[in-house]
Symmetry: C2
Subunit: 265 residues, 2 copies
């Protein structure tokens, strides 16, 4: 199932080096919610795939199109087939990322979406962050080494040029499957030194790392986790406005990437 | 990517009905830990796949072999490539289940493994349960309908004949990514009315449901969650002995399945 399956390690290393110096061609944008995805879909006139690259029966949706030198693919896990809500969280995000990498062989992944932010770490509503690393805050396995596996720390492409040119904030991202934050989650988020909190990032990073695809995280703050308002209320209130800020930054990221090699990021 | 991708819904329904009446041929056993997997691998003389059906670079391992009328496939997510511990939890389990279903098209999935049990619900160390339904206890999304999506309740194949013949206990299974149990987890487990608690079941059930493969859960109790001893200590102490009980019951399940149709279970 791998395009490199029959190559030796040396040949593969050479291929990786070559890929680094070749202009980025195919990008995969992974977004968890339709409301977050549609502004980007509309901006780049992406169209829904009539012949899905995914197996029959799964709700996952791929939009794609061409912009300048890029083949842009945007996937979201779709609506839950029985409940009709967006298939948020780590399991759906990891599955659709895995299946999309297998089908599309992207040069680069962009995981874009909304996030909670911590004002104690400088985050405010509408801020857009580039995550420098990601980890989980809801996988507590108190057995030596398993504890580190549970945290699942992964580095993201730090992209200093990208950060400088787009004037994005930089922060650590922590991921868990709950929208709220329990005291145990909070302790893990503090241990992760996180500025922003989402429900998918660490899982998308895990899959990208497994299949050796570089990844960038672009996350826009919809709610202040350590603020006065309840998260769910603030999240729903700001979701639509903040996705506009997200679309704007994703557009700038795509403009920046166009014509560049991975080694230029 | 689907074998039924070009068939109409009516033709597919006919195919499902036909499959129900055909003897079960290919089974997929999904197990999270090597210690849990190896007794079953040895019992059925399963061998590791020299040409992996999985992409290059992933740690997932498939053992397979033939026993009576069955093609037995056992997959486990393997050791984390940087940390060397078993890749436990929902993300790895969902990915390896998805990839194995795509590659092997099994008639039936058996998710076998160890679990915590609640003595208040009648569970004791070494008990082996057949789960009647599964849900998550660590996906709290306090927005209407998203809350139900978070719980992610799925029915398992209840298999009354199997339960009667093998004298298995029946109980509800609750899944979360932590080995321990926070007060929030506990409240959700009570709401789920769960007798046993694991770290993969609901995610494996989600993938099986997405791709319409029937699933059975066989879970052996390694630790009493509402008992005196700390979970991690009790889990490690009992892991090896309890996996023997698990192997015995999985063997009985396989003997029972052999020659039967899905509709006989």
């Amino acid at each position: 199932m791998s395009p490199h399956g029959d190559k030796s390690d040396a040949a593969e290393e050479a291929l990786v080096a070559e890929t680094e110096k070749r202009p980025i061609s195919t990008i995969l944008i992974v977004i968890a919610m339709q409301t977050e995805a549609l502004p980007v879909v509309n901006k780049f006139n992406l169209t829904e795939d009539p012949d899905s690259v995914f197996p029959k029966g799964v709700p996952w949706i791929r939009y794609h199109g061409f912009y300048k030198d890029l083949h842009i693919n945007l996937v979201w896990p779709g609506k839950d087939s029985s409940l009709g809500v967006d298939s948020v969280g780590t399991v759906s995000a990891s599955l659709v990322t895995y299946a999309a990498i297998q089908a599309l062989q992207p040069d680069l992944i962009i995981n874009a979406g909304t996030a909670g932010g911590f004002k104690a770490k400088g985050a405010g509503i509408g801020d857009v962050y580039l995550a420098c690393d990601v980890a989980y805050h809801d996988r507590r396995i108190p057995i030596p080494v398993f504890d580190l596996y549970g945290v699942g720390l992964r580095q993201a492409s730090v992209s200093p040029n990208l950060q400088k040119e787009l004037n994005l904030k930089i922060g650590k991202l922590s991921t868990g499957n709950s929208l709220d934050m329990s005291p145990q989650d909070e302790a893990s988020i503090v241990a992760n030194d996180a500025t922003i909190k989402d429900m998918e990032g660490a899982a998308v990073a895990y899959v990208a790392d497994l299949l050796k695809v570089p990844i960038i995280f672009v996350k826009a703050v919809t709610d202040v986790v350590d603020g006065e308002k309840p998260t769910a209320e603030e999240f729903l209130q700001n979701l639509s406005a903040v996705t506009a800020a997200l679309e704007e930054k994703v557009t700038q990221v795509i403009e920046f990437i166009n014509g560049k090699c991975l080694s230029d990021l």
